[in-house]
């Protein structure tokens, strides 16, 4: 695919070493039909845009809906798979692009030659501003300060995020188990404010505490015994501690319907204008 985009850049007259040009080529690959002549083929190779799959977009019924492999196979994905595939292509083309998070959402951030940041919304095929992210109403000042949202992640931090994906896949398949902590602790080690890892940890301790309480109930043990149970108290403290940590990071749960409304708000005239302005800026910088 990187070869395909290389030929595309060539036909468009883009500078092959220009980072903005590389990102624009990748963006066009996601949002447009590209008919590109390859050197080693007689017929041009055509690729088609990738679209947002609104059905079960959080993968609650079918976890594989979140997968990049599904996106490649079907040409439709969501805010998890689309940005990751973008970053894979950027990696292959030696382009610099970053993953960033918004409430229940992820997108791409790139920096132009002037040092200005642009947000690439692959779910809606648009370039947006931070203002668009703020419109969710779920981005708090503490969330920005703790860098859980709108912060461009390093490549290492994205790989740490893949560890979280692995753990969430595990939970979906086998349920919450102690193994989960190995993954989340590894992710946190490489990104201290990794919201996803802290959320997974919190759910783990929540379930573990419920498991302990059920045993107390089944065995007819007293509340006094529970209060004196150091191990149970430790689990309780871990659960409460992780909740407090998540709150301090500025996390607020965004309901699915509000999320969907927010995604569709990109169709607002103001956002469309924002997209046109940003596109003009980028095109101007790469000389097209």
């Amino acid at each position: 695919m990187a070869t395909h985009l290389g030929f595309y850049m060539q036909t468009q007259g883009y500078d092959p070493d220009d980072n903005s040009a590389k990102n624009l080529a990748i963006y066009n690959f996601f949002t447009d039909t590209l008919k590109v002549k390859h050197k080693d083929r007689e017929q041009p190779v055509t690729t088609y845009p990738m679209f947002y799959d609104f059905e079960d977009f959080w993968g609650r019924e079918d976890r594989s809906k979140m997968f990049v492999t599904k996106l490649i196979r079907e040409g439709t994905g969501q805010c998890h798979s689309l940005p990751l595939f973008y970053l894979i292509l950027a990696e292959e083309m030696n382009a610099v692009a970053h993953l960033a998070f918004a409430p229940n959402h992820s997108y791409i951030k790139i920096r132009d030659k002037r040092g200005d940041w642009h947000n690439i919304e692959l779910t809606t095929h648009s370039l947006t501003s931070d203002q668009y992210i703020m419109q969710t109403g779920f981005v708090t000042s503490s969330a920005i300060a703790s860098k859980i949202y709108m912060n461009p992640l390093t490549k290492k931090e994205v790989v740490a995020q893949c560890v979280n994906d692995l753990m969430m896949n595990y939970i979906r398949k086998f349920g919450n188990e102690d193994f989960i902590l190995e993954g989340t602790n590894l992710a946190i080690k490489h990104n201290q404010n990794n919201l996803t890892a802290h959320l997974i940890n919190h759910h783990y301790y929540q379930e573990l505490l419920q498991h302990i309480l059920k045993q107390y109930q089944d065995k007819g043990l007293t509340d006094k015994a529970l209060l004196q149970d150091e191990k149970a108290q430790y689990v309780y403290r871990q659960m409460m501690g992780s909740r407090a940590l998540i709150d301090n990071l500025g996390y607020a749960d965004m309901p699915a319907d509000l999320y969907e409304n927010w995604l569709r708000s990109v169709e607002d005239e103001g956002q469309k204008q924002e997209h046109r302005n940003k596109m003009r800026t980028l095109m101007g910088q790469i000389g097209n």
């Binding site: 490549k155 893949c162 692995l166 979906r172 398949k173 086998f174 188990e177 573990l208």
Partner: protein, 168 residues
Amino acid sequence: MIFPKSYVPAVLLIFVLATASAQRSIPELEAIERLLQTPKPSSFGQYGFDTPAPHPFLLSPSDFYHLNNLSVQRQNQQIMDEVDAYIARSMAQKARAQSLIDEAVREMNEHEIQYTLSGRMAPGRALFYTSLRQLEEMLQGRQPLSLKKAVFLSEFAYDPTLSWPDFQ
């Protein structure tokens, strides 16, 4: 040769028989021979035990065999009964022992709480373990960072039908 008078009929009979046998066919001779043979026991195959009519005073070999056989059967039955009784006793003892162990374990577990969420063993986990180790290698700098590989590892562990060459 002069024969005593009393031998005359016997000599005549021998003469007559010898002359007649020389003229008869072989099957007829065989029939006569069968008539003259001493009776023998039947050569037909016999099924089951030989049970001749009981003799009022003496034990025949088959009677002796029969009685001896009954004795062996009684002895065998006795041994089998003893073995059965032994097994029953052993089973009862074992059950009592198991019951005591169960009771002890119940008492021990009465206040024992599990503080982990493990034990839901199922196949397919190994892929998750190996994927995590590989991601760890990347994060610790022992393997080059590859987002493509990292994404594939996280998805492949969940769905082992995915193919790396296809993904590439």
